[in-house]
Amino acid sequence: MTTVEPAAAVPSGRHQSPPAPKDGPARTARKNRDWVHGLLMSAPALGGLIAFVGVPFGYAVVLSFYNVRLGSPLEPTFFGLEQYRRLFTDPDLSGPFLRALLNNLTFAVVVVPLQTGLALALAILLNRKLKAIGLYRSLFFLPVVFPMALVAVIWRLILARSGDGLLNSALHAVSFGNWGAFDWLGDGLTAMASVIVLSVWQGVGFQMVILLAGLQQIPGELYEAAQLDRASRWQQFRHVTLPGISGTLVFVALLTSVLSFRVFDQVYVLVHGGGLDEDATRTVMYQAVTTAFDQNNIGQASAITVVFFLIVVVLTLIQRRVVRPGTEDRS
């Protein structure tokens, strides 16, 4: 790297004067080399991203227009929009997919306000000076580090259908023996609720930490001023806390909605062994995996992937649009 020396030595004189522009003409010599180094430095990451994100994603779009099956001796045939038509309108084939879409929507519509609200309540509760407050925060954050496959197994025991399941026996105890065994995971009415509860339990600490960081940026003087004005606790919440955290709150809600559409692990684990009602809980990703893996129908699974991506991208773009003013630093 010694070859850079003479070029690098030139700007040293220029930079004696503080307001010198960053891109002085004397730097052109070095800039030329930076081109090589810059490209070399970014090449491995860029190559990886193109190979494992860019190309596969483009390929998914292409595959969705074909009738491709894994392990099929037949050549893939061009299918046009047939996969999409089947997904949305075919009387025989669209059922599971539309159900998955509806389930996922239900999941998102319940989880986003529930989890964001709970996280906000916890964040407010934990945003105070108290001995061992760090310990309390850690305890609520704890499930976030648990792999979802394990969380599903723990909740499989809690929600077990036998009278020995934790929830069933707790209800049995508080109802003085009037509560019988109920199959929380297997019953179509409560299956999705079960998945929602365990997902919120696992994830709420994540949103809590983000909101806590947001709360701590609200200047303490604002609360002092509000107290001088004899504002009640509710008024303080309504007129100081909420406006101070609204940006973070909207961000968290949108982030949670993106995450809601990526749900897969817990549904898969609980269906494969936990007796979870498959039809009531299949999600878009679950549908994509079963279509690709169990049915070897790559074309259709790719079409599901594309639909999934469109949902996520719309949510992400809304998120970026909404959050940009204020919280975003320059980029």
């Binding site: 790297m1 690098a8 040293s12 309390y136 792999p147 961000f251």
Partner: protein, 278 residues
């Protein structure tokens, strides 16, 4: 704000109670992993610490003892190996790219960065199916579990945000002393960027350790099966040996808990930072 001792006691009571209820599932996991299997799924007495022993743990370590069942230490080894490659490979590759894109001036870097931001929009779930199809011949290998996750657009973005805030005078000084971009990066920038390396490392490790969707698609051979996938397979076998399943679960989460205990500050910063900057 002044707080009276009574008020503080009340705070502790409320928070303590809430936290206790919240971590009950974790306690249940822990207690159950030390109990005989037939006493785990046993109503509320599943919480009672009766007949505790390490039997489940020794059984988990010894009962996976053939090629058909796989070996516990192999599951652990696969998980550790894959996570190590993804975390450390990712730190090198992504930080280097971020440096090249933010601190070196060259034509086209803006366009490259824009492509990167676009790729950040694509969650792994959106490429899982085509990747599964493209790499079907490589199923049940170790490298296909790790390599696709090394380059990470979001990590590059996190590094880039940090590097942008470094004053240019620091690099100027290094360059005057004759250091090229590579030496400047590895000898000056990396050592002063420990916080971002720590939080990216932890966030990557956390995501990778629990990784499930990709192994479901790509791994069927027990000899290259990572822990979370085996967790799913193990709990799906009838009849379920609950004591052992829970002991397995504890062993699955233990490495993350240890990392969490030691690097808690970075965990929270990494997670909070991931959101604020995302």
């Amino acid at each position: 704000m002044t707080t009276t001792p009574l008020r503080r006691l009340l705070d502790h009571l409320v928070l303590g109670l809430l936290a206790f209820v919240f971590v009950l599932p974790v306690l249940y996991l822990l207690v159950g992993s030390f109990k005989p299997s037939d006493e785990v799924l046993n109503g509320l007495s599943g919480f009672l610490p009766t007949h505790l022993s390490l039997d489940n743990y020794t059984a988990v370590l010894n009962s996976f003892d053939s090629d058909a069942t796989g070996y516990f230490w192999r599951f652990m080894g696969v998980s550790v190996l894959v996570a190590t490659v993804v975390v450390f490979g990712g730190l090198i590759v992504n930080s280097m790219a971020a440096y090249g894109l933010t601190r070196l001036r060259w034509r086209g870097r803006g366009a490259v960065f824009a492509v990167l931001l676009l790729l950040m929009l694509v969650p792994f779930e959106a490429v899982a199916v085509p990747l599964f199809y493209l790499f079907n011949e490589q199923r049940n290998t170790l490298y296909i579990q790790a390599v696709p996750f090394i380059a990470n657009a979001f990590s590059v973005y996190q590094f880039a945000t940090f590097f942008r805030a470094i004053p240019p005078s620091i690099e100027e000084a290094a360059r005057i002393d004759g250091a090229g971009p590579w030496r400047t990066f590895f000898a000056i920038i990396v050592p002063m960027s420990k916080p971002v390396f720590a939080s990216v490392a932890i966030l990557t490790f956390l995501t990778q350790w629990g990784s499930f969707l990709w192994p479901v698609l790509m791994v069927s051979d027990p000899s290259v099966r990572p822990l979370p996938l085996e967790m799913s397979v193990f709990q799906g076998q009838q009849p379920v040996d609950w004591g052992q399943v829970l002991a397995f679960g504890v062993l699955l989460v233990l490495p993350v808990l240890i990392v969490f205990a030691f690097f808690q500050r970075w965990f929270v910063q990494g997670v909070a930072g991931s959101a604020v900057k995302g």
